[in-house]
Amino acid sequence: MKKLLLATAATALTAGAAMAEGHGETVKMGVILGFTGPIESLTPAMADSAELAMKEINDAGGLLGGKMLEAVRADSTCVDAAGATAAAERLITSDGVAAIMGADCSGVTGAILTNVAVPNGIVMVSPSATSPGLSTVEDNGLFFRTAPSDARQGVVLSDILMDKDIKEVAVTYTNNDYGKGLSDSFIAAYEEAGGTVTINAPHEDGKADYSAEVGALASAGGDVLVVLGYTDQGGRGVIQGALDTGAFDTFMLGDGMYGDQLVADLGDDMEGSFGAVPWSEGEGTTAFAAMAVDADINPEGAYTRESYDAAALIALAMAAGGEATSAAAASKLLEVANAPGEPILPGELGKALEILANGGDIDYVGATNVELIGPGEAAGTYREYVITGSAYETENIR
């Protein structure tokens, strides 16, 4: 009991300190990404992109009359929920961050949200968590993401099939949270639209031989085989097996199957196969690319655009809310992200701050054409492609 009292007192003290700092000249923003772990190769560029947005705001004179943004990085590990929770705890209690840009992987994002962010009332904007589960999680309106939910991808895939008038498919997915979530959302959307799924079979990554999996898929039948896996793993093995045995000729591919090596190796036989991949194009994307290249960041890197947008959105929402707190950011985030208002591209954050200071309204477009829907997640634009002559050919942007 004594310990608990002590801990409560300590927390209250540090929280008080955090409040004090929040009203000082700097506003700290947590950047919690998996700097170690499975996606450690992606995260440095993501963090750099987020910090690029903060630097842009500082260069434009800071937030709310001269408050400078300061990034505090922490490691989410991508896979270890306990480690991520501890890191987020540290960000809030000892660093006193006003908001969190992150986390990256869906599992740790959910853990941080329920264990740390919601109890402390801290707003979180994730650039890359795509699990459909996060749409329904109890978040007190504090959780947003600039990446589309896989539930959206499931609908897009289902729409593509319906447009092509394909009514019966077999589905195989990589046996993890991503594959399971995506296949569930796809099947729900497809069956609602009147399609039939003959079999929904998982496959393990990293095996040498997928003939048994292909045998089961072939036996169940279907016009098209929907492959929701990884392009250099089991997804490719299943396609190879299906082509070898003549089980399927046409495939529909989820976003994890998008890769140049796949069409280079198997493109001839996959002629006419199709799929969808998250895509962004337009002025915002071009503007971000130019800025990123100047700052030595690879603009094609996965989720760099989303990271920039996440950090920019938090700062702009604070500016719109009139104070550098999570409460202000949470209440105004959807407003700055969506129409109506003056469209804001990357590189125009200074202009956005000015408009907000004068009581105007903005519509943040950003690097990914941000449009937040439902509980505050990106609507997402997908590119529908067809494999023609061993190359990806854009058919449609959805």
């Binding site: 048994a212 292909v214 089961a216 070898d244």
Partner: protein
């Protein structure tokens, strides 16, 4: 017509893959069984010996390919195979000299040798990953199919296609040749006979003047050859990834034990028993049943006994059942 379609369907998805896989397992199990029969321990390093041999073959294949050497429709790896066997034989002979010989002199119990072979397994495992990396490597070239599924449909006019890959044909032919050569060697040459004598009764063999070190050395060379051939055929048919070779250890041991440890004939039979069980138990019979049964009886379900994920469980179950009820295996090998 429906009967024909059913047969072709089953040939395509059950018989052809199972026969190829069974041949690969049989070659692997022969190596395990030879070591058990002559050196008297279960060699856990066998899967990684296969990986090592395949790795050397892959490297030599790449070298040959870069020189523009090829075998036409056959994979270049066949040319590289002798090099793979030679290097692997050198490695296992060296391992025997620096590791196993010590324990043989001590007359160590088989269980100690099993643990020692596990150590060797980890070292080889690391060596392979260190040299070629843990990723998938592709080295198959030449003609991919003997018959492609689409060509078969066109030729016969049937609804079902039958595909036979070059690697599958090659696997069966090579396996038959290798097994024939091995049996001839064991039964008709002086060295082969001395090996069998040593296996049957070590003391009598020593009394009659058989040089034990020579028998051991020849055994290792044979095992290296069998392991490399099995590994290369598996790699050509599927793909080469060090970790999957490590996983092959279970079905290979299951094959050797089902057939009877120490019995070469049993190893071959065991390989096919395991391969056919794995494939038939995890196959979804819906389509085949749909062809044969009248429409009213056609099944809605998949008719799949076990999800494909549990493929390895099949080897485990067979292994446990055999060890419980017939520990000497089908062909009266030694009990474990």
């Amino acid at each position: 017509m429906d009967i024909l379609n059913t047969l072709v369907l089953l040939a395509n998805f059950v018989f052809v893959p199972a026969i190829a896989y069974g041949s690969q397992l049989a070659l692997g199990a022969l190596g395990v069984t030879l070591i058990y029969g002559i050196l008297r321990f279960s060699n856990f390093a066998h899967g990684d010996t296969m990986a090592f041999g395949t790795m050397v073959t892959v490297l030599v294949t790449w070298l040959l390919q870069s020189w523009g050497v090829s075998l036409g429709p056959l994979p270049t790896a066949l040319l590289a195979l002798p090099f793979g066997i030679a290097v692997t034989a050198a490695l296992v002979l060296w391992t025997d000299r620096v590791v196993y010989k010590f324990y043989r002199k001590q007359k160590a119990k088989p269980v100690i040798l099993v643990i020692v072979s596990m150590g060797v397994m980890f070292v080889m495992n690391g060596l392979v990953r260190f040299i070629i990396g843990p990723d998938d490597q592709r080295f198959a070239d030449g003609e991919r199919f003997i018959i492609g599924a689409r060509d078969f449909k066109k030729m016969t006019g049937l609804d079902e296609g039958l595909a036979i890959k070059t690697s599958q044909g090659l696997t069966v032919v090579t396996a038959v040749l290798v097994v024939a050569a091995l049996f001839w060697f064991l039964n008709h040459t002086r060295t082969g006979k001395s090996m069998r004598a040593y296996s049957d009764n070590e003391d009598l063999a020593l009394l009659s003047g058989i040089n034990p070190e020579r028998v051991v050395a020849v055994t290792w060379i044979l095992v290296a050859a069998l392991a490399t051939v099995a590994g290369v055929l598996y790699g050509l048919d599927k793909s080469f990834k060090p970790f999957t070779y490590f996983q092959l250890l279970l079905p290979i041991f299951a094959s050797a034990i089902v057939g009877g440890l120490g019995s070469p004939l049993g190893a071959i039979a065991g390989g096919f028993v395991i391969a056919f069980s794995e494939v038939t138990i995890t196959y979804a019979w819906k389509k085949a049943a749909g062809y044969i049964l009248p429409e009213s009886l056609a099944p809605d379900g998949l008719l799949q006994l076990l999800a494909v994920d549990y493929k390895f469980a099949v080897s485990f179950v067979i292994l446990v059942v055999v060890l419980l009820f017939k520990p000497t295996g089908l062909f009266k090998g030694k009990s474990v």
